[in-house]
Amino acid sequence: MSAETGIGASVLRKEDARFITGKGQYTDDISVFGQTHCVFVRSPHARAKINGINTDAAMAMDGVIRVFTGDELVEDGIGDLPCGWVVNSKDGTPMVSPPHPPIATSVVNYVGEPYAFVVAETLQAARDGAEAVEADFEILEAVVDTATASSSAQIHENAPNNQAYDWELGDREATDAAFAKADHVTTLDITNNRLIPNAIEPRAALGSYDAASSTYTLYTTSQNPHVERVVLALFVNVAPEANLRVISPDVGGGFGSKIFVYAEETAVIWASAKVGRPIKWRADRTESFLSDAHGRDHVTKAELALSSEGEMLGLRVKTIANMGAYLSTFSSSVPTYLYGTLMAGQYKTPAIYVETQAVFTNTAPVDAYRGAGRPEATYVVERIVETAARELNMDPVELRRKNFIPPDAFPYQTPVALEYDTGNYAASMGKALELADSDGYAARKAASETNGKLRGRGYSCYIEACGIAPSQLVISLGAGVGLFESAEVRVDVSGSVTVMTGSHSHGQGHETTFAQLVSDRLGIPFESVNVIHGDTGRSDYGLGTYGSRSIAVGGSAIDRALDKIIAKGKKIAAHMFETTEDQVEFAEGQFSYAGSNEPKPFAEIAGAAYIPAVYPLDELEPGLSEKAFYDPKNFTYPAGSYVCEVEIDPSTGVTEIEKFVAVDDFGNVINPMIVEGQVHGGLAQGIGQALLEHGIYDGDGNLSTGSYMDYAMPRATDLPDFEVDMTSTPCTHNPLGVKGCGEAGAIGSPAAVMNAITDALGVKDVPMPATPHTVWETIQQGA
């Protein structure tokens, strides 16, 4: 197709016109007749027994329609919020999933957990009502700290030692044997700081029950409306599946935090039938901080066994993962199947053993956040590899090169379950070193020294598994859902196309990327392709967007549906050419036949499909509309090499990122501009994790960083001018050869930054975030 809009072209994003002119339609922009407002009453305590809730005063207030407590939901048969992935412990027992009522009934387990909600005529009245709800709390000792949670007061009756599971992966004996013959063992104790997602659009929900048809419509900020619908219908029992429609309109960022099924949308859709009127809720920023699922929060001990020549022989990793108060929707899979499986990194390490103990604390639930497990894995592998190189007095680049899985070793089976299909790690590394002006480093370091500054350099060669995921594999590992994707391609009479996808765009630019794919394959103008997503009433069951899966899985599904469209088009064309379909070729938007010098453009065939004059209708149905469900054969494995150079002012502890180079291999790329944008955003979040962001609870379980006064988000001025480039080894098992790019930046960057900072300071570790205060204190301790 046209070089300006086809695959590989940096087409400007279609959706931006509405976003940047304020014409996006977000959940809170939607209002329906008779709408009421809702405010949740949230626990001020991290852990307390609820001895009673008095709603009388609230009910008596002007404008208040109803006040609901958790008991009413239970009485009505509303179930717990489930965790959809059962992870087994080492001994084969399934994880402990404590009861998680959407609205707390007898106990509250984190600050911000809702225990009642008020429905009122106005938001103001709902707020006043919420303040008037009285609860009799018996405050209990809170458990906050990840490392000591298992030896602290027991939070849930069914979870001794506050343990959800104690999971393992890999061959323990083989790993022990590797350590026994090692010349050198590097150990590293590190933490992965808790992050709070902070999508620019807060979560919101508008629940509307139509008594005439007994149907429920839920507008909500979800990355996966079909999953939301299935969970609410089948597990939470809000409504029969057939009577529930979930619509995710424009969504302003998710980063994982909008995958999950939360208390608030459950409450508003359920209560809309009780009240008989639509109910709207939108989080204020404080609520977002308190109640969006948080990310990361690991404490890890890692050990790497090496030969004296720097050959990596074995890796042992023991992690405590803080799950927060309850198991959120997909939380259990994050520090296990999305984490332990990545411990081979880009290396041939023959023996790996990973243990993850998941613990409960009285903090907000922790679940997938951009990268989900893979940033944590990369942080472990890339920090310890760099540390090992320093201990062995080897160039960290050389150590990595020595251990890279070579290009001719693919497909490569790692010792931690995954089979990498393709890659060329040395190629990305080579390009990154060039861009980083490695040769000039010594001079830059000397110049910094002259100015009283400390310069350091760090690398990070990440790999991730995305394009989530082969259904039967994940179901065998405990997932409660298949992870295929759906697509429907509807051709209009004039040859324009509407695509229904189960993927959901909340900033990724699918309306553009998917349109490029369709226009390229059908040879039709980019402008005549519309992409529709985010509505269970319009598209087939699909799994949504997370885990960098949209192009690899959703895009492949579209591609499969396009195959069917072209196949049917050939049949129609064959009749028009009066030949057989195997004689018809399709290329560049034209159906052609060697026996005719008048090729038929796609639009003409579309017209013929709907004005079925030329073909026998008992052989060929009219119309041109096809569906496909694509189930991936394997994960995809984007990988890359990142180089970070920092300069630290020892007097203030301020770290400046002087250079950041990212060379990624995403396989084939549909829209390089969008991909680069995704990398930039990911880097900002990864650098934010390394330098700025930290979700901190005090000893009583109060969120100390509950606003932008205390939680530092990365700003443009905190970030360098990124140098971003790509290499490409196309994915071997999906039709597009694509891998996925949404999380890479956030996965690869923290280790690069922290390797650079520890290099500059000459220390083994600095905890993230490396704030000026932390860096200054590290320097003081050394002095």
Binding site: T286, S704, Y708, D710, H773, W776
Partner: protein, 261 residues
């Protein structure tokens, strides 16, 4: 936000009168501090008295070696003045552009946030705070955490800054809020060397040990070995008292370096 009466005063007397006759009134200037606290329902006044329409309250003028800045002057307007570059530079680093377009010097001083920038300038430059009732020497204005010498209902009308021979302000900004973790104004004035410090303690203060050291030798090295007693300094998530103590010296040196080059 709770409901309140919005009262717009057209002159100082009316403003004060509304304030006096209300059981619980608060002035609003730029609203950059007040409105967030109303939105979070941390304050519940009956009457909010708007000062923005009072004639002359926002004017900036310069005469006889004194820059006179009206209480309602916005941070962005002060940032655009030229008679005291250090003061303009300070105003230009307050918060972000939106905050600078709304926030006022009067509101900032009346609020006396320990991390606000202007207090360092008032002390460092030896300013005089004028109210509808009196003139208060800058040195006497800041009393404690969020506490000033203002009486209940007293209105700041303007702040007079004597133009220094030279001055510079160095700020170490909080990464999240951009308020001052520590800010230091160093000035050589007709009345001698003055050093105003904000961010470090419960409220801004003058650091006389630095003033003395710089009086004999206006160079960064003059501050080497001059102890900063940080025992009463603020300690929070973002900075320990010891770190703030160290930053006071580092920022003071940066200010001195700026003003001597």
């Amino acid at each position: 936000m709770y409901t309140f009466n919005f009262r717009r005063a057209s002159n100082l007397d009316e403003a004060q009168q509304i304030h006096q006759s209300s059981s619980d009134a608060v002035y609003v200037a730029g609203g950059m501090t007040l409105i967030p606290s109303l939105k979070l329902r941390l304050a519940n006044p009956d009457d909010v008295v708007d000062l923005s329409q009072i004639d002359g309250l926002g004017s900036i003028s310069s005469a006889d070696g004194v820059v006179s800045i009206g209480a309602m002057a916005r941070h962005c307007e002060v940032a655009a003045t030229s008679d005291i570059p250090a003061l303009a530079a300070l105003a230009n680093r307050i918060g972000d552009a939106q905050v600078r377009n709304r926030g006022t010097i009067g509101g900032s001083l009346a609020n006396n946030d320990p991390a606000a920038d202007y207090p360092a300038a008032v002390l460092g430059l030896g300013a005089i705070v004028h109210t509808n009732a009196r003139a208060i020497a800058g040195d006497d204005f800041f009393v404690d955490l969020f506490e000033t010498a203002l009486d209940e209902g007293e209105i700041i009308t303007r702040v007079d800054f004597p133009i220094p021979r030279r001055a510079a302000y160095a700020k170490f900004a909080n990464q999240a809020s951009k308020y001052a973790v520590v800010g230091v104004m160093v000035a050589e004035t007709d009345a001698g060397i003055r050093v105003g410090v904000t961010g470090a303690a419960a409220c801004a203060f003058r650091l006389t040990s630095f003033e003395e050291a710089l009086s004999t030798n206006m160079s960064a090295s003059a501050l080497d070995g001059v102890e900063v007693d940080s025992s009463d300094f603020n300690s929070d998530l973002h900075a320990s008292a010891a770190y703030r103590g160290s930053l006071v010296t580092v920022m003071a040196k940066q200010a001195v370096d700026q003003l001597t080059t």
